[in-house]
Protein backbone atom coordinates (compact mmCIF):
# COMPACT_ATOMS: atom_id res chain seq x y z
CA UNK A 1 0.00 0.00 0.00
CA UNK A 2 3.12 2.21 0.29
CA UNK A 3 4.27 4.45 3.07
CA UNK A 4 2.20 6.04 5.80
CA UNK A 5 1.62 9.72 5.22
CA UNK A 6 0.52 11.83 8.18
CA UNK A 7 -0.24 14.93 6.18
CA UNK A 8 -3.94 15.87 6.03
CA UNK A 9 -6.04 15.00 3.03
CA UNK A 10 -6.31 17.65 0.30
CA UNK A 11 -10.02 17.96 1.17
CA UNK A 12 -9.98 17.32 4.89
CA UNK A 13 -13.54 18.29 5.80
CA UNK A 14 -14.69 18.35 9.39
CA UNK A 15 -17.69 19.71 11.29
CA UNK A 16 -21.23 18.61 10.52
CA UNK A 17 -22.51 16.67 7.53
CA UNK A 18 -25.47 17.58 5.30
CA UNK A 19 -26.82 14.28 4.01
CA UNK A 20 -29.52 15.94 1.86
CA UNK A 21 -26.80 16.72 -0.68
CA UNK A 22 -27.09 13.08 -1.72
CA UNK A 23 -30.73 13.71 -2.64
CA UNK A 24 -29.61 16.52 -4.97
CA UNK A 25 -27.00 14.19 -6.49
CA UNK A 26 -29.76 11.65 -7.13
CA UNK A 27 -31.91 14.30 -8.86
CA UNK A 28 -28.93 15.54 -10.86
CA UNK A 29 -28.03 12.10 -12.20
CA UNK A 30 -31.52 11.52 -13.57
CA UNK A 31 -31.76 15.07 -14.94
CA UNK A 32 -28.48 14.84 -16.86
CA UNK A 33 -29.12 11.33 -18.21
CA UNK A 34 -32.69 12.09 -19.28
CA UNK A 35 -31.72 15.31 -21.09
CA UNK A 36 -28.19 14.73 -22.30
CA UNK A 37 -27.63 10.96 -22.15
CA UNK A 38 -25.41 8.62 -20.24
CA UNK A 39 -22.25 9.84 -21.95
CA UNK A 40 -22.79 13.34 -20.58
CA UNK A 41 -23.13 12.04 -17.04
CA UNK A 42 -20.00 9.91 -17.49
CA UNK A 43 -18.16 12.96 -18.76
CA UNK A 44 -19.07 14.88 -15.58
CA UNK A 45 -17.97 12.01 -13.33
CA UNK A 46 -14.75 11.84 -15.29
CA UNK A 47 -14.08 15.50 -14.49
CA UNK A 48 -14.77 14.79 -10.82
CA UNK A 49 -12.36 11.83 -10.83
CA UNK A 50 -9.62 13.59 -12.75
CA UNK A 51 -9.95 17.28 -11.84
CA UNK A 52 -11.69 17.56 -8.47
CA UNK A 53 -9.67 14.60 -7.18
CA UNK A 54 -6.46 15.59 -8.98
CA UNK A 55 -4.52 15.29 -5.72
CA UNK A 56 -5.74 11.75 -4.99
CA UNK A 57 -4.95 10.85 -8.57
CA UNK A 58 -1.46 12.26 -8.24
CA UNK A 59 -0.86 9.98 -5.27
CA UNK A 60 -2.01 7.02 -7.37
CA UNK A 61 0.21 8.13 -10.24
CA UNK A 62 3.11 8.05 -7.82
CA UNK A 63 2.25 4.50 -6.85
CA UNK A 64 0.62 5.45 -3.55
CA UNK A 65 -2.83 3.98 -2.89
CA UNK A 66 -2.69 4.75 0.84
CA UNK A 67 -4.06 8.24 0.28
CA UNK A 68 -7.23 6.84 -1.29
CA UNK A 69 -7.64 4.45 1.62
CA UNK A 70 -7.26 7.40 4.00
CA UNK A 71 -9.87 9.30 1.96
CA UNK A 72 -12.27 6.33 2.17
CA UNK A 73 -11.86 6.02 5.94
CA UNK A 74 -12.28 9.74 6.51
CA UNK A 75 -15.47 10.18 4.50
CA UNK A 76 -17.17 6.87 5.23
CA UNK A 77 -16.59 7.57 8.94
CA UNK A 78 -18.03 11.07 8.57
CA UNK A 79 -21.15 9.66 6.94
CA UNK A 80 -21.44 6.87 9.50
CA UNK A 81 -21.39 4.12 6.88
CA UNK A 82 -20.90 0.47 7.75
CA UNK A 83 -17.76 -0.65 5.98
CA UNK A 84 -14.51 -2.52 6.33
CA UNK A 85 -11.22 -2.43 4.48
CA UNK A 86 -9.23 -5.59 3.81
CA UNK A 87 -5.64 -5.34 2.73
CA UNK A 88 -4.21 -8.43 1.02
CA UNK A 89 -1.00 -9.06 -0.89
CA UNK A 90 -2.50 -8.12 -4.23
CA UNK A 91 -5.53 -5.95 -3.47
CA UNK A 92 -7.17 -3.44 -1.14
CA UNK A 93 -10.85 -4.19 -0.77
CA UNK A 94 -13.37 -1.72 0.58
CA UNK A 95 -16.54 -3.55 1.56
CA UNK A 96 -19.49 -1.22 2.06
CA UNK A 97 -22.26 -3.07 3.89
CA UNK A 98 -24.45 -0.05 4.42
CA UNK A 99 -24.02 3.01 2.24
CA UNK A 100 -25.63 5.81 4.22
CA UNK A 101 -25.86 7.99 1.10
CA UNK A 102 -28.02 5.35 -0.61
CA UNK A 103 -30.02 4.79 2.55
CA UNK A 104 -30.69 8.52 3.02
CA UNK A 105 -31.87 9.00 -0.57
CA UNK A 106 -34.05 5.91 -0.36
CA UNK A 107 -35.85 7.26 2.67
CA UNK A 108 -36.03 10.91 1.50
CA UNK A 109 -36.57 10.97 -2.28
CA UNK A 110 -39.60 9.63 -4.16
CA UNK A 111 -37.30 7.26 -6.04
CA UNK A 112 -33.67 6.37 -6.14
CA UNK A 113 -32.03 6.66 -9.55
CA UNK A 114 -31.09 3.31 -11.04
CA UNK A 115 -27.81 5.02 -11.92
CA UNK A 116 -27.16 6.37 -8.41
CA UNK A 117 -24.08 4.18 -7.88
CA UNK A 118 -22.52 5.38 -11.14
CA UNK A 119 -21.10 8.25 -9.08
CA UNK A 120 -18.86 5.65 -7.44
CA UNK A 121 -18.27 3.34 -10.41
CA UNK A 122 -17.44 6.05 -12.92
CA UNK A 123 -15.55 8.37 -10.59
CA UNK A 124 -13.38 5.46 -9.41
CA UNK A 125 -12.66 4.46 -13.00
CA UNK A 126 -11.64 8.02 -13.92
CA UNK A 127 -9.50 8.33 -10.80
CA UNK A 128 -7.55 5.20 -11.71
CA UNK A 129 -7.24 5.77 -15.46
CA UNK A 130 -3.63 6.22 -16.48
CA UNK A 131 -2.30 5.32 -13.00
CA UNK A 132 -0.56 2.09 -11.97
CA UNK A 133 -3.83 0.96 -10.32
CA UNK A 134 -7.29 -0.19 -11.27
CA UNK A 135 -10.31 0.49 -9.06
CA UNK A 136 -13.20 -1.85 -9.74
CA UNK A 137 -16.59 -1.25 -8.17
CA UNK A 138 -19.00 -4.16 -7.78
CA UNK A 139 -22.53 -3.46 -6.58
CA UNK A 140 -23.35 -6.42 -4.35
CA UNK A 141 -26.85 -5.36 -3.24
CA UNK A 142 -28.86 -2.12 -3.04
CA UNK A 143 -26.71 0.16 -0.86
CA UNK A 144 -23.80 -2.30 -0.71
CA UNK A 145 -20.68 -2.63 -2.81
CA UNK A 146 -17.08 -3.72 -3.01
CA UNK A 147 -14.43 -1.37 -4.30
CA UNK A 148 -11.17 -3.06 -5.15
CA UNK A 149 -7.82 -1.40 -5.78
CA UNK A 150 -5.33 -3.60 -7.65
CA UNK A 151 -1.97 -2.81 -9.15
CA UNK A 152 -2.08 -3.15 -12.92
CA UNK A 153 -0.07 -6.08 -14.23
Amino acid sequence: MTKKDDRPLRYNDDGNVHMDFHVATNTTIDFIIERFGMEAMDQIFERVGKDVYANLREHLMNGNSAELVKHWRHFFDRENAEYSIEITDDAIILIVNKCTAYEHVQKTAPKISKFFCDQTIKTNAALAEGTPFTIDTEITAPGSCRQIIRRRT
Binding site: R10, Y11, D13, G15, N16, V17, H18, M19, D20, F21, H22, V23, A24, T25, T27, T28, F31, I32, R35, F36, A40, Q43, I44, R47, V48, D51, V52, Y53, A54, N55, F75, F76, R78, E79, A81, V96, C99, A101, T108, A109, P110, Q119, T120, T123
Partner: protein, 162 residues
Protein backbone atom coordinates in the same frame (compact mmCIF):
# COMPACT_ATOMS: atom_id res chain seq x y z
CA UNK B 1 -19.96 7.68 -3.21
CA UNK B 2 -19.14 11.30 -3.78
CA UNK B 3 -19.11 12.42 -0.14
CA UNK B 4 -21.73 14.98 0.80
CA UNK B 5 -18.76 17.15 1.82
CA UNK B 6 -17.76 17.23 -1.85
CA UNK B 7 -21.20 17.74 -3.35
CA UNK B 8 -20.57 21.41 -4.15
CA UNK B 9 -17.48 20.50 -6.17
CA UNK B 10 -19.56 17.96 -8.10
CA UNK B 11 -22.30 20.60 -8.50
CA UNK B 12 -19.66 22.96 -9.92
CA UNK B 13 -18.73 20.37 -12.56
CA UNK B 14 -22.42 19.96 -13.45
CA UNK B 15 -22.76 23.75 -13.86
CA UNK B 16 -19.69 23.90 -16.11
CA UNK B 17 -21.08 21.12 -18.31
CA UNK B 18 -24.51 22.77 -18.54
CA UNK B 19 -23.10 26.22 -19.22
CA UNK B 20 -21.53 24.76 -22.37
CA UNK B 21 -24.96 23.48 -23.44
CA UNK B 22 -26.47 26.96 -23.12
CA UNK B 23 -28.36 29.19 -20.73
CA UNK B 24 -31.62 27.23 -21.08
CA UNK B 25 -29.93 24.06 -19.87
CA UNK B 26 -28.63 25.79 -16.74
CA UNK B 27 -32.01 27.37 -16.01
CA UNK B 28 -33.81 24.05 -16.49
CA UNK B 29 -31.40 22.39 -14.06
CA UNK B 30 -31.83 25.04 -11.38
CA UNK B 31 -35.57 24.65 -11.72
CA UNK B 32 -35.19 20.89 -11.33
CA UNK B 33 -33.15 21.49 -8.15
CA UNK B 34 -35.91 23.85 -7.03
CA UNK B 35 -38.44 20.99 -7.44
CA UNK B 36 -36.08 18.74 -5.49
CA UNK B 37 -35.71 21.31 -2.72
CA UNK B 38 -39.42 22.07 -2.59
CA UNK B 39 -39.87 18.47 -1.49
CA UNK B 40 -37.77 19.36 1.57
CA UNK B 41 -39.08 22.88 2.21
CA UNK B 42 -42.47 23.67 0.70
CA UNK B 43 -44.79 22.30 3.39
CA UNK B 44 -42.67 23.78 6.18
CA UNK B 45 -42.61 27.22 4.53
CA UNK B 46 -46.32 27.09 3.75
CA UNK B 47 -47.35 26.01 7.23
CA UNK B 48 -45.00 28.18 9.32
CA UNK B 49 -44.20 31.06 6.96
CA UNK B 50 -41.08 33.06 7.81
CA UNK B 51 -40.61 31.05 11.01
CA UNK B 52 -40.53 27.86 8.96
CA UNK B 53 -37.91 29.43 6.68
CA UNK B 54 -35.86 30.41 9.74
CA UNK B 55 -36.13 26.83 10.99
CA UNK B 56 -34.98 25.41 7.64
CA UNK B 57 -31.98 27.72 7.28
CA UNK B 58 -31.02 27.31 10.92
CA UNK B 59 -30.68 23.60 10.20
CA UNK B 60 -28.67 24.42 7.06
CA UNK B 61 -26.45 26.75 9.11
CA UNK B 62 -25.62 23.86 11.42
CA UNK B 63 -25.36 20.99 8.94
CA UNK B 64 -23.42 22.91 6.30
CA UNK B 65 -21.17 24.63 8.85
CA UNK B 66 -22.13 28.12 7.64
CA UNK B 67 -20.90 31.32 9.19
CA UNK B 68 -24.28 33.01 8.87
CA UNK B 69 -26.45 35.43 10.84
CA UNK B 70 -30.21 35.45 10.60
CA UNK B 71 -32.68 38.11 11.59
CA UNK B 72 -36.34 37.18 11.75
CA UNK B 73 -38.86 40.03 11.90
CA UNK B 74 -42.62 40.19 11.57
CA UNK B 75 -42.44 41.19 7.91
CA UNK B 76 -39.19 39.64 6.71
CA UNK B 77 -36.32 37.23 7.18
CA UNK B 78 -32.75 38.27 6.51
CA UNK B 79 -29.89 35.82 6.05
CA UNK B 80 -26.45 37.32 6.07
CA UNK B 81 -23.90 34.80 4.87
CA UNK B 82 -20.53 35.86 6.23
CA UNK B 83 -18.63 32.86 4.88
CA UNK B 84 -20.48 30.62 2.46
CA UNK B 85 -19.12 27.06 2.74
CA UNK B 86 -20.48 26.16 -0.68
CA UNK B 87 -18.58 28.78 -2.69
CA UNK B 88 -15.59 28.46 -0.33
CA UNK B 89 -15.23 24.78 -1.23
CA UNK B 90 -15.69 25.46 -4.92
CA UNK B 91 -12.87 28.00 -4.75
CA UNK B 92 -10.68 25.70 -2.65
CA UNK B 93 -10.71 23.14 -5.40
CA UNK B 94 -8.28 21.43 -7.74
CA UNK B 95 -10.87 21.91 -10.49
CA UNK B 96 -11.67 25.37 -11.87
CA UNK B 97 -14.67 27.18 -10.35
CA UNK B 98 -17.61 28.08 -12.56
CA UNK B 99 -17.71 31.87 -12.75
CA UNK B 100 -21.45 32.10 -11.97
CA UNK B 101 -21.59 29.48 -9.26
CA UNK B 102 -23.59 31.78 -6.95
CA UNK B 103 -26.46 32.05 -9.42
CA UNK B 104 -27.83 28.63 -8.53
CA UNK B 105 -28.95 29.76 -5.08
CA UNK B 106 -31.55 32.27 -6.30
CA UNK B 107 -32.24 29.79 -9.12
CA UNK B 108 -33.70 27.23 -6.71
CA UNK B 109 -34.98 29.43 -3.87
CA UNK B 110 -36.73 32.03 -6.05
CA UNK B 111 -39.30 29.70 -7.68
CA UNK B 112 -40.31 28.18 -4.32
CA UNK B 113 -40.88 31.60 -2.73
CA UNK B 114 -42.72 32.85 -5.84
CA UNK B 115 -45.10 29.93 -5.57
CA UNK B 116 -45.71 30.69 -1.91
CA UNK B 117 -46.28 34.40 -2.56
CA UNK B 118 -43.15 35.71 -0.80
CA UNK B 119 -40.68 38.16 -2.33
CA UNK B 120 -36.99 37.31 -2.52
CA UNK B 121 -34.24 39.90 -2.76
CA UNK B 122 -30.95 38.13 -3.32
CA UNK B 123 -27.84 40.30 -3.13
CA UNK B 124 -24.84 38.21 -4.15
CA UNK B 125 -22.60 41.28 -3.60
CA UNK B 126 -19.67 39.79 -5.56
CA UNK B 127 -19.60 36.37 -7.27
CA UNK B 128 -15.97 35.87 -6.31
CA UNK B 129 -16.53 36.38 -2.58
CA UNK B 130 -18.22 33.75 -0.41
CA UNK B 131 -20.72 36.11 1.15
CA UNK B 132 -24.20 37.33 0.30
CA UNK B 133 -27.38 38.74 1.82
CA UNK B 134 -30.76 37.18 1.20
CA UNK B 135 -33.94 38.89 2.28
CA UNK B 136 -37.41 37.42 2.09
CA UNK B 137 -40.35 39.81 2.38
CA UNK B 138 -44.06 39.35 2.84
CA UNK B 139 -44.81 42.58 0.98
CA UNK B 140 -43.74 43.31 -2.59
CA UNK B 141 -43.22 47.05 -1.93
CA UNK B 142 -40.68 46.33 0.81
CA UNK B 143 -38.84 43.97 -1.53
CA UNK B 144 -38.73 46.55 -4.32
CA UNK B 145 -37.31 49.09 -1.89
CA UNK B 146 -34.64 46.63 -0.71
CA UNK B 147 -33.66 45.84 -4.31
CA UNK B 148 -32.53 49.46 -4.73
CA UNK B 149 -29.76 48.90 -2.17
CA UNK B 150 -28.44 45.60 -3.55
CA UNK B 151 -24.88 45.55 -4.93
CA UNK B 152 -25.36 42.57 -7.24
CA UNK B 153 -28.99 41.59 -7.43
CA UNK B 154 -29.54 38.00 -8.50
CA UNK B 155 -32.61 37.15 -10.60
CA UNK B 156 -34.05 33.74 -11.37
CA UNK B 157 -36.08 32.19 -14.14
CA UNK B 158 -38.65 29.50 -14.24
CA UNK B 159 -41.75 28.75 -12.31
CA UNK B 160 -42.77 25.75 -10.28
CA UNK B 161 -45.94 24.02 -11.40
CA UNK B 162 -49.03 24.28 -9.18
Amino acid sequence: MIPSDHFTRFYNEVFKFLEKQGEDALRAYWLEISRNQSMLTYDLFQQKGLEGMYEYWENIRIEENCDMDMDLREDRLELRMNVCPSLSKVMDNDAAPMGRYCDHCAGWIGPILDKLGYHLVYDVIDRQQPQCVMRIFKEKEAALEAEKHAKLLMRWHGKLED
